[in-house]
Amino acid sequence: MQALAKGPAVRSPVSLSSAFEKYGIYIFLGLLFITASLISPQFLNPQNLKDILNQAAALGMVAIGQTVVILIGGGGLDLSVASVMATVAVIVAHNTRGQDALFFPVALICLVFGLLVGLANGILITKRKVQPFMATIGMMIIIQGLRFLYTGGAPKGGFPPILRFLGTGSIGPVPMSIFSLAILAVIAVIVLHKTTLGRQIYVIGGNIETAYLSGYRIDLVITVVYMISGFTAAIAGLYLAGYIGVSDNWVGKGYELDSIAAVVMGGTSFAGGRGGVMGTIVGVLIIIMLYNLVLLLHLPVQVQYVVKGAIIILATSFYAMFRKST
């Protein structure tokens, strides 16, 4: 396992099967894209592609944080992300009252909120040794409760034009939100592959003993990882709120599981230490394209759940097949 941790030290010759494992998801995305454009004439419509990208942005942002959390291993995952997204949306609507002037200070508060939730998750997991599943599900419920206390059940206010632009506007033909997702993804790739923090994340995920013997500050790294997830969830909440434009208590509902599905489809292993952000982004695009295709083909929207579930199982068994053999 540990030999597979990203690092310049050992590099086994690239075999066909490992290349297939690594790039299979891209091939699948390509095939899905071609199939979609063949069976639905509307699929390649520029506006439709723009809709797909706009909808992929928020999920992509959450999934970046989720990837990093799952990479750290030890059963790492973050179920509190959707709750963070909804709470951020409510905070923005309440405090900006739809005015641009207040947007940046309030957005800053939202990001700090995301970081604090991550910090709390991290402390619970490292210092109190709570299972990540339980810690983050507990946090999810706490934030939900606090949100309802805060709004009294009915969120007030509205979203400022800047936020609407971030969620729905575009620069030339490129949607603003996908532009932001790209920036975030590039930063994540740089952090994971070019910094000490990134290397430590892969090593801890790959083999925690090695990390311990190397003298890494494991607790600190794990806590930072959950803070990254809280932070990206807060950004995603802002973009999704901007995209929908209606304040609602449940913005981002279902994104916790969708983001985990995207990460797993993208080849990041639940065991940790293996995978990365680019695969996750491809996973996100697959999920959103499937959703879009189901509707373009005039199938009931519920069909997407069946297809999504099947693809998750297919993807995991695909990876399991290759990983057992290596």
């Binding site: 509307q42 009294g152 007030k156 995209y243 434009g245 208590n249 509707l295 009931p300």
Partner: protein, 358 residues
């Protein structure tokens, strides 16, 4: 006299014939009212001297409709405090097992009457039946139990809501065009009943074609995503959108971005009413009134006073439109119900100002 009846019958017959010819673009509103609503229940055996102890077991306050509904119950109980000595409220968090325990607690506290909004029809049925057997009258509100073992059910017909919305949509389109329907949760009682009611009316308008029916989970986010895809699929072919709740506000966002302004239907959610006006959509709205919370308390007091009550109380509801059709007319100007200073997620209500969520 006999002659008069014959003449009247002849006139009625001719009218029916003429009416059926003109069916394609009109339908009598009066046909939609439920004639069973007036079955009265004798409540003399429940008559008691005030002051009363009443328990209210709520399924949950997990969405904004339920929050406003819950406040309406509490506000009315507060308003009646000269006859209500003690008013207990429990919240079951949408969990039937918790609600069963809640009801048992309320009975142990010695309530004179139980008001319940049941989490599920089947799971709460045995306990409600038992409470009735113990001689404590039960009022169901918003959601009933499966059996008829209660005194009165305070509600508003979901079928009527769906029918009214569809009738307006078909009439505003003059009986011709293509529509899409956006439902709530697949399988949820209110969602399915409204869709069924709407389809009954749709069947009377052969010139209107249903392009697609999708469930948008009463979520603005789903509404927007689904509508965006439907617009790609059908484009300018969509002449109208039938919807029954929160999803319509998201769908309007998608249509607005695509520059499509076709007639839409919804209910009295502030976000829908305000945005339809701001964006200039022809629209119709009919509510599933949160005020039924207050009506449930009033019905409870009638029962304890021994006054007969209807077995099903169909609470009054308002219809608003931005453009009237032959059979669906606005009860008040649209702008009177568009409250720009209210939260998006608030519902038209009859709450006194001090009870409105801050």
């Amino acid at each position: 006299m006999k002659k008069l009846i014959t003449v009247l019958m002849a006139v009625a017959f001719v009218c029916t014939i003429l009416g059926s010819v003109a069916w394609a673009d009109a339908f009598p509103r009066s046909w939609l009212w439920d004639t069973n609503a007036l079955k009265m229940v004798d409540t003399s055996k429940y008559k008691k001297k005030p002051p009363y102890v009443i328990g209210f077991s709520n399924a949950s306050v997990s969405n904004s409709w339920r929050v406003y509904f819950d406040l309406q119950v509490k506000a009315e109980a507060d308003n009646q405090k000269d006859v209500i000595k003690k008013f207990y409220v429990t919240d079951a968090n949408d969990k039937p097992d918790k609600q069963i325990a809640d009801v048992e607690d309320l009975v142990a506290k010695g309530i004179d009457l139980l008001i319940i909004s049941a989490a599920t029809m089947a799971a709460l049925d045995p306990i409600v039946t038992r409470v009735m057997k113990e001689g404590i009258p039960v009022v169901c509100v918003d959601r009933r139990v499966k059996s008829d073992n209660f005194v009165s059910f305070v509600t508003s017909s979901n079928y009527t809501q769906g029918r009214m919305q569809m009738l307006w949509l078909c009439e505003v389109l003059k009986g011709k065009g293509n529509i899409v329907m956006l439902g709530g949760f697949a399988g949820a009682g209110p969602a399915e009943e409204r869709i069924d009611g709407a389809k009954e009316i749709l069947a009377q308008f052969p010139g209107i074609k249903l392009l697609d029916l999708q469930y948008a989970n009463w979520s603005p986010a789903e509404g927007k995503k689904i509508m965006a895809a439907l617009i790609q699929s059908y484009g300018k072919k969509i002449d109208g959108v039938w919807g029954d709740g929160l999803q319509v506000s998201g769908a309007m966002e998608a249509m607005n971005e695509a520059g499509i302004k076709v007639p839409v239907t919804g209910d009295h959610l502030n976000a829908f009413i305000v945005r339809a006006q701001e964006m200039g959509f022809p629209a119709m709205s009919i509510d599933f009134p949160v005020s039924m919370g207050a009506d449930s308390v009033l019905t409870a007091l009638k029962i304890l006073n021994g006054t007969p009550v209807p077995f099903i109380v169909d609470v009054p509801r308002t219809i608003i439109t931005t453009v009237d059709t032959e059979n669906v007319k606005s009860d008040m100007p649209w702008s009177d119900m568009a409250h720009k200073d209210w939260p998006d997620d608030s519902w038209n209500n009859t709450l006194p100002p001090k009870w409105l969520p801050k």
